[in-house]
């Protein structure tokens, strides 16, 4: 628990620090990063801790966004809008999770895809909320101390949600609930034999992740003020999946790092070339073929080699050899686990 609080404080400091040094455009991009980070972390939970690869996570992101836009025609209270988005996505993910939980692997993937596709078809085919043309809203967040309109204000507002989500996920995964979930992913029949009903734990995680994705979608509206059916597309879901993998599968913070890397790399690469999706595909293939895990794993490796070098410089050889070996083993273990 102490570790969790410490890392949360570290994260908070980092978030506070960004607007101090960044240009307005980088703040804008970082806001995008934080939203996508919440989204990717929630997907990371069900994929990396629950073993549920979902191609339908964009359904919840889009649903959160659409809820805010649709309701903002009548109310502008941010608590009501975010609350409605949260409740609706929780209910939706509870129901769809319950249905999808009958299947695993590719079947699970397809059922979740079906949900998001149905939403996509409804949102683009019906004339509600702008249909295929999408719809914009003028809504601004007001938590009781004035409209948040500046980009820095928006960044901090979303930053709060980001840090909260991180904290929540950390607490959840280190709680008994989270440990059982991981146990189910690693060996479902053993957990069943131990008297746990795997479906309950998986559905719980799926619902939590769904609500979080819904909040990310709702926050997205405060940044973009525009919904369109593309939010429900396979592409959005695939992008979130990429973020999870680039960042580091099987960790909480990895997907957030992945979101950061993805948004910034896409932004800069696409300025130079139209072949972004080719590059993206190659990144995918490289991640799989190199079997080195995501950024977070690479960072661990890099950090450990720095630590090792320092240790070499400061003598005490015998002991260090042992330590270094232990360290390497730990890192390797973590990587194999996450693969």
């Amino acid at each position: 628990m102490k570790r969790i609080i410490l890392s949360t404080i570290g994260l908070m400091a980092a978030v506070l620090f960004i607007p101090v040094v960044a240009s307005p455009y980088v703040i804008y991009l970082s806001t995008e990063v934080l939203i996508m980070a919440i989204f990717a972390m929630s997907l990371g939970l069900i994929m990396g801790f629950g073993g549920m690869p979902s191609l339908g996570h964009s359904a919840l992101f889009g649903l959160g966004a659409y809820t805010v836009v649709a309701l903002s025609q009548y109310v502008s209270n941010v608590y009501v809008l975010l609350g409605a988005a949260l409740i609706l996505t929780l209910i939706f993910s509870l129901i769809t999770g319950f249905i999808a939980m009958r299947n695993t692997g590719i079947f699970f993937l397809m059922v979740t895809l079906a949900f998001t596709q149905v939403l996509y078809l409804i949102s683009s085919g019906m004339n509600l909320w702008g249909g295929a043309d999408g719809m914009s809203t003028m809504v601004r967040a007001n938590f009781g101390f004035g409209n948040i309109a500046s980009s820095t204000g928006l960044f901090y507002m979303i930053g709060v949600f980001f840090v909260l989500s991180y904290f929540l996920l950390k607490v959840y995964t280190s709680s008994p609930m989270g440990k059982i979930l991981k146990g189910v992913m690693e060996n479902e029949s053993r957990m069943t034999a131990l008297g746990f009903n795997p479906k309950i734990f998986k559905t719980a995680a799926y619902t939590l992740a769904g609500g979080m994705a819904g909040i990310a979608g709702a926050l997205y509206i405060y940044k973009n003020q525009f919904v369109s059916p593309e939010l429900f597309s396979v592409h959005t879901a695939a992008e979130a999946m990429i973020m999870v993998f680039i960042g580091g599968y099987g960790t909480i913070f990895g997907p957030a790092l992945g979101a950061g890397a993805f948004v910034f790399i896409e932004n800069y690469v696409s300025s130079f070339t139209d072949r972004w999706s080719l590059i993206l595909g190659l990144i995918f293939i490289a991640i799989v073929m190199l079997k080195r895990g995501g950024i977070i794993h690479l960072l661990s490796l890099a950090w450990n080699s720095i630590v090792r070098m320092r240790k070499k410089m400061f003598s005490e050889r015998k002991r260090n050899v042992v330590e270094v070996k232990e360290e390497e083993e730990m890192v390797n273990e973590r990587i194999t686990k996450s693969q």
Partner: protein, 420 residues
């Protein structure tokens, strides 16, 4: 760091994460900062700021063929003018949005915040045109050229002083066609339109004008966009037995529909009227060939147009890209020209001056004929051409049947009963 190795590792995990995260942020911030620094140095070198033009176009995805055309047109125009407007250099920044309005909005932010462009352009498809118009209207920082987006309300309820159109609108096309079909083809028609907003709008405008001119619409059908097999609709048309079939399928569905219309033997029986300007697209002719023969379409541009500017335009386009230009290329070309004209008339790149110049009503000669931007609707008043596909010595081409001169965009929403 000696005794409690395990604990230390855990602690280092923590610290290193924060440190590396911050490091990452700093690096990226530096990247972001670079952009402005570079511009600064360029300014000193040339003595005068280059004019920065930023575009978000759909260069990948379903609508890539439209975005590609616009891009080629823009580049052709500035190449012909040595990348200069007056004495100032032109810097073109073109981003891809893949047909996704969310990505287009991000590109807009990047181009305006990071690159501080003087003029902005985009809107290859309807949803993007709406999203961008809304964004430039809220920010009121930089004027935008809507390169294709044909939604009517962009000239009515959603009109913005900051968004100007260079293409056509649903009512300009379908309204004219409603009149034309009633007068020249027949008095009964079936409408088949793609089941999304633009399809509904086009169908509404066609039906209203067709009926005003004495036609009767027997049936309206709405295939989903992305329909690959139209046979069920085609057999329904056969049962209804109209004189004319008016269809609207932008993108890949269009050529598919044309081809299947012929395959199912409807070509000889009913007049095929295209409301999506897809029949005469060079790529359609290339891929479905003689299936377009006998069909009629409307266009604000076609490559066979008889004027000197167009001949020159077709020649230089063919030299550069070795294919025939289509309406999207002309939209891009005219976008370049409109921006150049506006900046010259305004005498600066200050956005207020630019908007004022646009509001004075800019006219110029385009390969499509003379056009005037109407400040009441922010829409070009232009000639529209009714064309028919013909075959001569094995070559498929389009013949001009009728010209509707100087068709203006209606200033008010006529309030037709919406179809669907």
């Amino acid at each position: 760091m000696k005794d409690k190795t395990i604990i230390n590792i855990k602690k280092t995990m923590l610290t290193k994460l924060s440190v590396l995260f911050l490091g990452l942020v700093l690096v990226l911030t530096a990247c972001g900062g670079n952009e402005n620094a570079e511009t600064g140095s360029e300014t000193e070198a040339s003595g005068q700021d280059p004019v920065k033009l930023g575009f978000t176009l759909s260069l990948t995805g379903n609508y890539a063929f439209m975005g590609e055309g616009v891009k080629e047109g823009i580049e052709l125009y500035f190449e012909e003018n040595d990348y200069k407007i007056g004495s100032r250099d032109v810097e073109l920044l073109i981003e891809d949005d893949g047909g996704d309005p969310q990505k287009a909005l991000q590109n807009y932010q990047q181009l305006t915040m990071n690159h501080q462009v003087d003029f902005f352009g985009g809107g290859v498809i309807g949803s993007i045109a709406y999203a961008l118009t809304e964004a430039v209207e809220q920010d009121k920082q930089v004027p935008m050229i809507n390169v294709v987006g044909s939604g009517n309300s962009l000239s009515w309820e959603d009109q913005s002083d900051y968004s100007w159109r260079i293409g056509f609108s649903s009512i300009q096309y379908a309204g004219t066609q409603g009149e034309d079909v009633a007068e020249n083809i027949g008095e009964t028609a079936v409408v088949v339109a793609s089941d999304y907003v633009a399809g509904h709008e086009i169908a509404t405008d066609f039906v209203a004008n067709y009926e005003e001119n004495g036609g009767e619409v027997l049936d309206v059908m709405w295939p989903a966009s992305g329909t690959s097999d139209f046979s069920s609709y085609l057999s329904q048309i056969k049962q209804t037995d109209p004189e004319a079939v008016f269809f609207f399928f932008p993108g890949a569905d269009g050529p598919r529909f044309i081809q299947q219309f012929k395959d199912f033997g409807l070509g000889e029986k009913y007049g095929l009227i295209d409301g999506s300007s897809v029949l005469n697209a060079p790529s359609t002719i290339e891929s479905v060939g003689e299936d377009v023969v006998g069909g009629q379409t409307i266009a604000h541009y076609y490559p066979g147009l008889e004027n000197d500017l167009n001949k020159q335009f077709v020649k230089s386009y063919e030299e550069k890209y070795s294919k025939t230009p289509d309406a999207y290329v002309v939209n891009g070309y005219d976008t370049g020209k409109l921006i150049a004209e506006t900046i010259e008339q305004a005498g600066s790149t200050n956005s207020d001056d630019l908007v004022a110049a646009l509001n004075d009503g800019i006219s110029f000669d385009s390969p499509r004929g003379p056009i005037t931007l109407d400040p009441d609707t922010n829409h070009p008043t232009q000639n529209l051409y009714i064309l028919e596909g013909i075959e001569e010595n094995g070559e498929v081409s389009f013949e001009l049947l009728r010209t509707y001169e100087e068709v203006a965009m209606p200033t008010e929403n006529p309030g037709y009963t919406p179809q669907k």
